[in-house]
C-alpha cells in the first residue's frame, strides 16, 4: 500500500505539472490581452499550485498509506477532469477534434457570409447529444481541494 500511495502521488504531481505547462502555454499565446478567456486561464493557472499545496498537506496529515490512497485517487481523477476541461473549452489554439485550421476555416467562412456577429460552435458527434451546463466554474474546480486549499488571489475571484 505504501508503494501505491507513492505512485499515486508521483502521478498526481506529474499531471499537475503537465497541466500547469499547458495552461501557461495557452495563456502565453494571448500575450497581455485582457479577455474573458485570459481571465479564466489565469484562474485555472492557480489550480496546479493549489493542488500541489493540498496534496502535501493531506499527505503529511494522513496517518497511514490507505488514507493517502483514498484521498489521492479522487484528486487524480479531478486533475484529469480539469485537464480535459482546459483542452475541451479553453484551448483556443484548437484540439484534436477541432483543429485550428478547421476553426480558422469556419471563422473565415462565417465572415465571408457576413456572420461576424455570430458565435461559431464546433462540435463532434451527433447533433442532439449536446447540452449547456450552467455552473460556477470556480466552485467546480477548487471546492474539491477542501479546507486546506490556499485562498484564491483576489484578482482571480468571481470572474465575469
Amino acid at each position: 500500500m505504501d508503494a501505491l500511495a507513492e505512485e499515486l502521488r508521483r502521478a498526481l504531481l506529474q499531471r499537475s505539472s503537465t497541466l500547469a505547462s499547458r495552461i501557461s502555454h495557452l495563456r502565453g499565446s494571448l500575450g497581455d490581452e485582457r479577455s474573458p478567456l485570459a481571465d479564466v486561464l489565469d484562474l485555472f493557472g492557480f489550480f496546479p499550485k493549489a493542488l500541489d499545496i493540498v496534496v502535501e498537506i493531506e499527505w503529511n496529515r494522513a496517518p497511514d498509506a490507505l488514507s493517502r490512497v483514498q484521498i489521492l485517487r479522487p484528486f487524480l481523477r479531478h486533475v484529469l477532469d480539469v485537464s480535459d476541461f482546459v483542452d475541451d473549452w479553453l484551448s483556443h489554439a484548437g484540439t484534436a477534434s477541432a483543429p485550428v485550421y478547421l476553426v480558422d476555416a469556419v471563422g473565415r467562412a462565417c465572415l465571408s457570409l457576413g456572420l461576424d456577429e455570430r458565435r461559431v460552435v464546433i462540435g463532434e458527434g451527433r447533433a442532439d447529444e449536446f447540452r449547456t451546463v450552467v455552473g460556477d466554474i470556480e466552485t467546480a474546480v477548487f471546492d474539491l481541494l477542501g479546507s486546506h486549499r490556499p485562498p484564491i488571489p483576489t484578482r482571480l475571484q468571481k470572474l465575469p
Binding site: 508503494a3 501505491l4 505512485e7 499515486l8 502521478a11 499531471r15 493531506e58 496529515r61 494522513a62 496517518p63 497511514d64 490507505l66 488514507s67 483514498q70 484521498i71 485517487r73 479522487p74 487524480l76 481523477r77 479531478h78 484529469l80 477532469d81 480539469v82 480535459d84 476541461f85 475541451d88 473549452w89 483556443h92 484540439t95 477534434s97 477541432a98 476553426v103 469556419v106 471563422g107 462565417c110 465572415l111 461576424d116 458565435r119 461559431v120 460552435v121 464546433i122 462540435g123 463532434e124 458527434g125 451527433r126 447529444e129 449536446f130 447540452r131 451546463v133 455552473g135 466554474i137 467546480a140 474546480v141 471546492d143 474539491l144 477542501g146 479546507s147 486546506h148
Partner: protein
C-alpha cells in the same frame, strides 16, 4: 469572431454527476482519515472537526431523504435541500452497512457519534465508524471513473 466548441454529454465530468461522486468519495476519504487519526492517538484539530461535521451533515441529509421518500413526500422539509442525486448514491452505499430495518435510526446514530467525536475524540467510537466511511470512499471514487492509469506489480 468568437469560436467555441461544444461537448458530447458524456464528457462533462467537471460539472456533471461524476464530480458529485468524487465529492462524496472525498468526504468518505477525509472522514476515514480523521477517524484513523483518532484511532492513532493523533491530536485532532479544526480540520478534523470540520470534516467530521461535514460527514455528520451528510448522514443526516441521507436520513432526511429516506424519511421524505417513505412519507410519500409529505415531510415539511424541501426535497431540494437534500441534494438528491448525491444523497441517493450515498444512501445506496451506506445502506449496505446497516440493517434495512430502522436504517434512518442507524444513520442518525452514526451522525450523533460523529458529533460526539468533534467534542471528545474516542477510539472506540471511531472504530465503529471507520469502515463505513472507508467503504464509501472506495465505492464513490470507483463510480466516478478511472484515474487514468493502472498501477500494478509483476511477480
Amino acid at each position: 469572431m468568437a469560436t467555441v466548441s461544444a461537448l458530447p454529454t458524456d464528457r462533462e465530468a467537471l460539472l456533471g454527476p461524476a464530480s458529485r461522486k468524487l465529492e462524496i468519495g472525498l468526504i468518505g476519504a477525509r472522514t476515514a482519515t480523521a477517524l484513523r487519526r483518532v484511532l492513532s492517538g493523533a491530536e485532532t484539530d479544526d480540520a478534523d472537526r470540520s470534516v467530521l461535521s461535514e460527514a455528520e451533515a451528510m448522514l443526516r441529509s441521507v436520513a432526511n431523504a429516506i424519511d421524505f421518500v417513505e412519507s410519500g413526500g409529505s415531510t415539511r422539509q424541501q426535497p431540494a435541500s437534500f441534494g438528491f442525486g448525491a444523497m441517493a448514491f450515498a444512501m445506496e452505499t451506506t445502506a449496505a452497512n446497516f440493517p434495512s430495518k430502522d436504517l434512518t435510526a442507524h444513520l442518525r446514530q452514526a451522525a450523533d457519534e460523529l458529533a460526539s467525536l468533534q467534542v471528545a475524540p474516542n477510539k472506540a467510537v471511531a472504530a465503529t465508524l471507520v469502515n463505513l466511511f472507508s467503504g464509501l470512499a472506495d465505492v464513490a471514487t470507483r463510480h466516478a471513473g478511472t484515474v487514468g492509469e493502472v498501477t500494478g506489480t509483476r511477480v
